[in-house]
């Protein structure tokens, strides 16, 4: 199935949970946050959130910044 991660279309095999996706992308789970179809998914819900074709995911972290 196709999942859009930070705007890029990527192919994954289903079933796939959000936690699986984070693991497959090799992202450090600490201090990141995830949105599924424009709504935040709490960390505790990552493993029970099943992804579907065409889901839009945003994964963010923190960078240096001021204003």
């Amino acid at each position: 199935m196709r999942i859009y991660v930070n705007g890029d279309a990527r192919e994954f095999s289903s079933p796939l949970s959000l936690a699986d996706l984070i693991a497959q992308l090799d992202l450090p789970p600490a201090r990141i946050a995830v949105e599924l179809n424009r709504g935040v998914v709490r960390r505790s819900d990552w493993s029970n959130t099943e992804l579907r074709d065409d889901d839009q995911i945003e994964i963010v972290h923190f960078v240096g910044g001021g204003s």
């Binding site: 930070n6 946050a33 960390r43 963010v60 923190f62 240096g64 001021g66 204003s67």
Partner: protein, 265 residues
């Protein structure tokens, strides 16, 4: 002593939603030439709170956490920099809260790429939503009293009028507006955000009655950020003291400081 000043001189420290910060300086974490230089500047400035931005994680390379380069004692203030709509700012704030487990948010909704001036209408809309959701909202806005009142009425914890465009280093462009804001909103926590270029700019903001100053570029782009961090710390202390002390009135003509009588003939 003006009533505005009297209200503020009793308490010590910068108070945001009941949290007390000994330092009235909040600084950014962007534009430094190295992490080492940033840490040295942070330490020298005495700031207890630093801002960070929320961005997409790069997927094509492994990244270290930027936050690991910050002193763990610092309070992190995530911002919504780069957002041009209320909706994007609200989404960014929610993501920041989820990742950092903090309800503090420096709200910025930009209206124009050249000036980075805030979109006050979108800022107001986002502030309303975020306050309802329990965020401690610190909005960046134009130095406008009516907007300041609206943000206070909504329930923002502090208000952050600009001194000049972000990153411009022009200093306080409209001191009268800041002074009016201070006098008309004695209860507000006012943090001057953006546009400070050097120590005297920060001192002027504090002399006008600001409760604090937020800056990034003035320190990060200084030739020696650590020394500028120290300069800003001292300027903010000096400006605050001068405000609390209550300056003499300005006069157009001289007023002799020595007795006019008993001069030898």
């Amino acid at each position: 002593m003006s009533t505005a000043r009297k209200e503020k001189v009793s308490g010590e420290g910068l108070i945001i939603a009941g949290r007390v910060f000994n330092s009235r300086l909040i600084i950014g974490t962007g534009k430094y030439r190295s992490y080492e230089e940033m840490r040295a500047a942070h330490t020298a400035s005495g700031a207890e709170m630093v801002t960070v931005a929320v961005r997409r994680v790069p997927l094509d390379r492994s990244t270290e956490s930027f936050l690991d380069h910050l002193d763990p004692a610092l309070q992190i203030l995530p911002n919504t920099a780069g957002c041009y709509s209320s909706e994007d700012a609200v989404r960014t704030a929610r993501l920041a809260r989820e990742a950092l487990q903090t309800d503090l948010i420096k709200l910025e909704v930009i209206g124009d790429q050249t000036t980075l001036f805030p979109d006050n209408e979108q800022t107001l809309e986002a502030a309303r939503i975020l306050v309802k959701e329990g965020f401690v909202v610190l909005p960046y806005f134009n130095d406008d009293l009516i907007m300041a009142k609206k943000l206070m009425d909504i329930g923002c914890a502090a208000i952050m009028p600009l001194a000049a465009p972000i990153g411009s280093g022009l200093g306080v462009q409209n001191p009268a507006n800041l002074r009016i804001m201070r006098e008309q909103l004695p209860e507000a926590t006012i943090i001057v955000d953006a546009g400070v270029g050097t120590a005297s700019d920060a001192a002027i903001a504090m002399e006008l009655g600001a409760d604090g100053v937020l800056m990034n570029t003035a320190i990060a782009e200084a030739e020696d950020p650590a020394k500028m961090g120290t300069a800003m710390k001292l300027a903010i202390q000096a400006g605050r003291l001068a405000y609390v002390a209550g300056r003499m009135p300005k006069r157009l003509y001289a007023s002799a400081s020595s007795p006019l009588t008993g001069v030898i003939k």
